[in-house]
Subunit: 224 residues, 2 copies
């Protein structure tokens, strides 16, 4: 009987984490939309979601702690709980990135819109696909799916690098647009970092299912 | 007898984490020095230290996992191990910030030096004090010392905000210095983020010793 209860609690922990993941995905997606459309109401909504994510983080940590304290989980169950604790931290940081993007968009409220040499929409979509795929790997307990995320990270890193150099040129040629160009550079970095967190989540899913630590093997010095 | 062994293993885990913390502090300090002095050899050294930090992260995680798997730690010991796992992640991310600063300094190798309206040295020192204080709180098992870190974070956040707005003015007035100004903005953010990680570490020390979760109570939407 206690073991049945234990597995129910593990399932509840997974459900709570998946619900939080949905919030983090949504926050990031909305933040890009809010920035692109200069939608101040949507900015506020992102900041509300971020508070909900922070609350969920505390709950997930407490559930994981209770399970470790009251049961003696072994092997795959222990790895699952440890992975949940780490994924929890990464989801919360994706929420932070989304909040940063929303706050940046708020600062641009009155700045004229420009066509800049940067495709924030595509970067946002790629980061979103990475998060969704990593979480799908968690949901389906599918390590191959999680591993597929690891190779996607380079694309977003490369896009971020190109953005930085092109927007510096923009700043030099059109100093009156420095605020907009800088905002785009910083948002590009926020998205690149959100993609890094998706990579971390994928690595934790692989650790849970395979028991091997894949960190720092794919990419030795990934940016944070 | 097994309990004595268990406490020796906990002590070994703490030692390994403290050694890693020393590397992270050193990497951050050297990265600021390398940037300020345009010291390319020191940049390379920071990148070497970052690889050592990444290796240490994997070792600490494995030690923590072994302890959870083989023993049934309760209460304060369990909280200690969970805190170690989180602090480990934050120390690794401080290493990432240092590597980012060193890589940015490498890009500036041939850029003329300028006097910019930003005090990276002081920001670096403040972030360093926060990391050292949080780690000292861990070493001495002193929650009050760890709590003192939480109030320091606002100073670095404020400095970062001022830097951003002043350097945007620099870019607008002197577009030929955009590269240097942007680098200073990004390094200021790296230091602000390193300070956030120090805050996270301090919160984990408090959680270990007091058993209460202080996150999201001091600052609801801290930047990542």
């Amino acid at each position: 009987m206690p073991r049945i209860n234990f597995h129910q609690q593990l399932a509840a922990l997974k459900d709570k984490l998946l619900a939080m993941a949905a919030l983090s995905q949504q926050a990031l997606e909305f933040s890009v939309e809010a920035y692109l459309a200069r939608d101040m109401a949507l900015c506020n909504h992102v900041l509300e979601i971020e508070e909900a994510i922070n609350a969920a983080e505390t709950t997930v940590d407490e559930m994981a702690y209770e399970l470790l304290a009251k049961e003696q989980p072994m092997a795959i169950d222990l790895r699952f709980i440890l992975s949940v604790i780490k994924i929890n931290g990464d989801l919360e940081r994706i929420g932070d990135q989304a909040a940063n993007i929303a706050e940046r968009a708020q600062l641009l409220k009155n700045a004229p819109e420009l066509s800049l040499p940067v495709d924030i929409q595509t970067m946002g979509e790629k980061a979103g696909v990475m998060i969704r795929t990593a979480i799908q790997g968690l949901l389906e307990a599918n390590p191959k799916m999680a591993e597929s995320v690891l190779s996607m990270d380079d694309e977003v890193d490369d896009m971020n690098r190109v953005v930085q150099s092109e927007l510096v040129d923009t700043m030099q040629q059109h100093p009156q647009f420095s605020v907009q160009a800088l905002s785009a550079i910083l948002i590009s970095r926020n998205l690149e970092r959100a993609a890094d967190h998706a990579t971390n989540i994928a690595e934790d899913v692989v650790f849970w299912l395979r028991g091997s630590d894949v960190r720092h093997k794919m990419s030795l010095a990934e940016a944070d």
